[in-house]
């Protein structure tokens, strides 16, 4: 069973690096690209520790080589099966490698909710429960309207947080080849694609911002998962 970590067009020297279950990494020739893999007698069961081992190995490969990180969980019976899977999507995989190879990802977000200074109130056209017109509104419609107001309020909070995060971390943008903003598992986040040699400096600069603004949380440098 083969576990896949990264794809590269320039095989890195992975001698001595280990991955899931401390298996040694090696580079497999796969035509236009090369695959960084480890081999296992049995499929490694998915666990948090193995996911972290995958991440650590992928980061090591991306730091020393020109590589694109593969999502955790890609396992193949043998080299033939892996080559076939890579051949199926060769053009797209090549494009992914071309986009991110030689780069890492630094992430910034806020820790916890960031509420607007002015509280978001209900819509001005929301009727009072004592309003005779409101009393005639069917319960179902009233529920849906209330839900819509709630969603709009939540969206306003989210947009406010995203705007505040962008403003608080704008100084980092000059370092980035690309910046993407989206909703992560813990709220709005900004992901910066930076050249590998600058990644530690960018993360350090982000930590300096976090030292001044304690809302900011910094992740990385990590393999550029977000950009593939």
């Amino acid at each position: 069973m083969i576990h896949l970590y990264a794809l590269t067009d320039d095989p890195p020297a992975v001698g001595g690096l280990t991955g899931v279950d401390d298996a040694l990494l090696r580079v497999m020739d796969a035509g236009d690209l090369h695959a960084v893999i480890s081999e296992h007698d049995q499929p490694p069961r998915a666990t948090r520790d193995r996911a972290l081992a995958h991440a650590a190995a992928t980061l090591a490969v991306c730091r020393i080589g020109h590589a694109a990180p593969v999502r955790y969980g890609a396992q193949h019976a043998d080299e033939t099966a892996l080559r076939a899977a890579l051949d199926e999507r060769a053009a797209r995989l090549r494009a992914s490698v071309d986009r991110v190879a030689g780069h890492l990802e630094v992430v910034v977000r806020f820790d916890g909710d960031v509420a607007p200074v002015e509280p978001v109130t209900a819509s001005a056209d929301a009727a009072s429960p004592d309003d005779p017109a409101e009393q005639s509104v069917p319960a179902g419609r009233a529920y849906l309207e209330d839900r819509l107001r709630q969603q709009r309020a939540e969206e306003a909070v989210r947009l406010h947080a995203a705007d505040a995060l962008r403003e608080a971390t704008a100084a980092l943008d000059a370092w980035a080849a690309e910046v993407t903003e989206h909703d992560g598992p813990q709220g709005p986040e900004r992901c910066l694609l930076v050249v590998t040699k600058d990644a530690d400096a960018v993360a350090a600069a982000a930590q300096e911002l976090a030292g001044e603004d304690h809302r900011i949380v910094v992740g990385g440098p990590w393999p550029p998962y977000t950009f593939v």
Binding site: A46, T47, A56, L59, P69, A74, Q75, A77, P223
Partner: protein, 74 residues
């Protein structure tokens, strides 16, 4: 697994966590989200996918959530 091997695995895990997110829990979720939900997708053998759904991917989500939930497997 022998005691030595178990201790080595714990040490490796701790080293990985320190390298990846400073050993703190704050960004662990951010990292795991990336590892299991982003990055290049290379579909494995057919047994790993049904109707276009990557079972390994789904399986990873279930196991990782199980670890974090009360009484989950560690």
């Amino acid at each position: 697994m022998s005691d030595n091997e178990s201790a080595r695995r714990v040490s490796t895990t701790a080293a990985n966590e320190t390298t990846l997110h400073g050993g703190g829990e704050t960004t662990l979720v951010d990292l795991l989200d990336r590892v299991i939900d982003r990055g290049v997708v290379v579909h494995g053998d057919l047994v790993l996918g049904v109707a276009g759904v990557d079972l390994v991917h789904v399986g990873v989500r279930l196991v990782l959530r199980g670890v974090d939930e009360p009484g989950g497997m560690r």
